[in-house]
């Protein structure tokens, strides 16, 4: 049995270690050390709780071992085998687990408060009940919302926005019902009302995420990250646990900042993303749009290889299409060939390229691209005028100059990569389809643009072969 004050101090230590874990991520050099701080902090928090609970009943102890064994092996298995392209799905699923765990912990504290030092059954303090219901509600929203995000990211559900009639009215109604149930729950601690709160929150989670299109997933996944943090913080308040309160606050603000960064990358307001209806997986068939008949210059892999080999400086612009085609490795191979011939190769990453913040950087790292060759939008944009070739692979909207010139365009105001300033632009694309925003890219019709139609991986493979 550990002294309560010492336990609280140890929780504080683990909270500080978590801060250091995030601090480590300010540079790739210190990042791995940071991750270890996180592991140690988690170890301290778990061990403290374990020893605080001594003596354990034998059967309880066995149940703990069983839970850790089951959960641990699933976690290790997923972490080892997951494809880097599927990272957004995995993270969404992990958010869901945190949300559901928060619901279970809240329920457990409601049914047996004596186990948490929260008094006896049916005599839980009102403020504790409020924190508990808040934790359960946010946790439940995080759970179903993340499950929907997972299904969309994993392609098990359409990435197009699903728009119910009167969805805003339904959501507002559910929100009011949720608030009313929480206020009914606090003075009564009725178990039935608790489950009503959970149920309503489950429904809200589904309805909030269903109308949001695939292209807006970077915002959604960041937002759910934030929610999982607030849920943890609310549980921390309930259980009076410093480690949980600090961690919840850290994760909550982290997710909120990432949502903000993603929204800024698309020049969209958080509200408009949440209202949904934008950015499906496939091009929106705009009935009013005139059919595009202008000719484009179509190139071959051999021609592209020639242009690339003749260049002094090449900037590669990867997008989600590269991830879908799993083309990152062969892009890395192509870059190595170019570098061996003395070509300067750099990579330009748009903040919202991919399906989650920083996704492209991970994929390039996986393809052995050194991180000091990979640049953010503001750092690389001044370099495009010096570039001989901009090699755009699986990206579209993030290069569209209409974002700067056409105030009627849905992507107007979005920061873009200035590939138009490069001498030659090579576009690797599946077809002439528009991007997520459903807008035509003017660049395709410019005289210095060459379109390379085909699967990204096959096309780059062919280019590598043509380079000999």
């Amino acid at each position: 049995m550990l002294n309560g004050n010492i336990a609280a101090l140890l929780y504080l230590v683990s909270g500080i270690l978590f801060i250091l874990a995030l601090r480590g991520l300010s540079s790739p050099e210190t990042a791995r050390q940071g991750n270890w701080f996180g592991v140690i902090g988690m170890g301290i928090a778990a061990a403290t709780t374990f020893f605080y609970q001594l003596p354990w009943g034998f059967s309880s102890f066995l149940w703990v071992l069983l839970a850790v064994a089951i959960g641990g092996s699933i976690g290790v298995w997923r972490a080892r085998t997951i494809e880097m392209t599927a990272m957004p799905q995995l993270v969404a699923l992990f958010h869901a687990l945190i949300g559901l765990a928060a619901v279970f912990v809240a329920a457990s504290a409601l049914y047996a408060p004596q186990g948490f030092g929260l008094g006896v059954r049916n005599e839980i303090h009102g403020s504790t009940l409020f924190e508990m219901s808040l934790g359960a509600a946010i946790g439940a929203i995080t759970f179903t919302g993340s499950v929907i995000a997972f299904l969309k990211l994993d392609g098990r559900m359409t990435g197009n926005p699903i728009l119910l009639a009167n969805r805003h009215a339904i959501n507002i109604g559910l929100g009011i019902l949720l608030a009313v149930s929480i206020f009914a729950f606090v003075p009564t601690a009725a178990h039935l009302v608790f489950w009503l709160i959970v149920l309503v929150s489950f429904a809200l989670g589904v309805l909030l995420i269903v109308p949001i299109g695939g292209a807006d997933m970077p915002v959604v996944i960041s937002m759910l990250n934030s929610y999982s943090g607030w849920a943890a913080a609310a549980i921390g308040f309930t259980l009076v646990n410093l480690a949980l309160i600090i961690t919840g606050a850290l994760v909550g603000s982290s997710g909120a900042i990432l949502s903000y960064v993603m929204c800024r990358g698309m020049n969209r307001s958080f509200i408009s993303v949440m209202l949904g209806g934008f950015g499906g997986e496939t091009a929106v068939p705009a009935g009013t749009r005139e059919a595009e008949t202008r000719p484009v210059k179509q190139g071959s892999a051999e021609g592209a290889a020639k242009i690339l080999l003749a260049a002094k400086k090449v900037i590669v612009v990867p997008g989600y299409g590269m991830a879908v085609a799993q083309a990152q490795h062969v892009v890395g191979v192509m870059a190595d060939i170019l570098k061996s011939k003395g070509v300067d190769v750099k990579y330009a990453i748009h903040p919202v390229a991919g399906r989650m913040p920083g996704h492209m950087n991970v994929l390039l790292a996986e393809a052995n691209v050194p991180y000091d060759e990979v640049f953010e939008l503001t750092d690389i944009n001044p370099e495009f005028p010096d570039a001989d070739v901009a090699f755009v692979i699986g990206a579209n909207d993030i290069t569209n100059p209409a974002a700067k010139t056409d105030s009627s365009s849905p992507i107007y105001g979005m920061p873009i990569l200035d590939v138009e300033h490069a001498k030659d632009v090579l576009f690797v694309k599946r077809g002439m389809g528009t991007g997520y925003a459903g807008v035509e890219n003017e660049l395709f019709f410019r005289p210095n643009t060459t379109m390379l139609f085909g699967d990204a991986k096959k096309m780059v493979d062919a280019i590598v072969k043509a380079m000999g």
Partner: protein, 142 residues
Amino acid sequence: MAEVDPQLLDKIQAATRAAWHAADAVQAYAEQIAAGASAASGGAIDPFIFRLAIFALAVIVGYYVVWAVTPALHTPLMSVTNAISSVIVVGALLSSGIDPSSGNDSGIAHVFGFLALTLASVNIFGGFLVTERMLSMFKKKG
């Protein structure tokens, strides 16, 4: 010396006096509120305030620390925040420690604890491991 309008001087004096009174009143109100709060919590500051303070400060620390994270590592940031969120394991362990035979609904509470612990364990092991896997791929030139 420039001539000063005596009426203006009077006005300034009156305004100063009014401000003085207002400040007095504010102070009196503040004392009353503090006395009320202190009486409500038995003369001490409610521990909730301390929790709230830690929470608020942690939000601010989080704000600065996260803005300092390089955008290249935003995916590992998300997976590591995910991993540390599983510190909810603390709650799961507490509920797992409940003796399921101690009557009332302790059995149900114990089952919830088991489920929460399983879920949190997936995240602890999966979250840190996948972060490590990603970070180990980030290499410098040469």
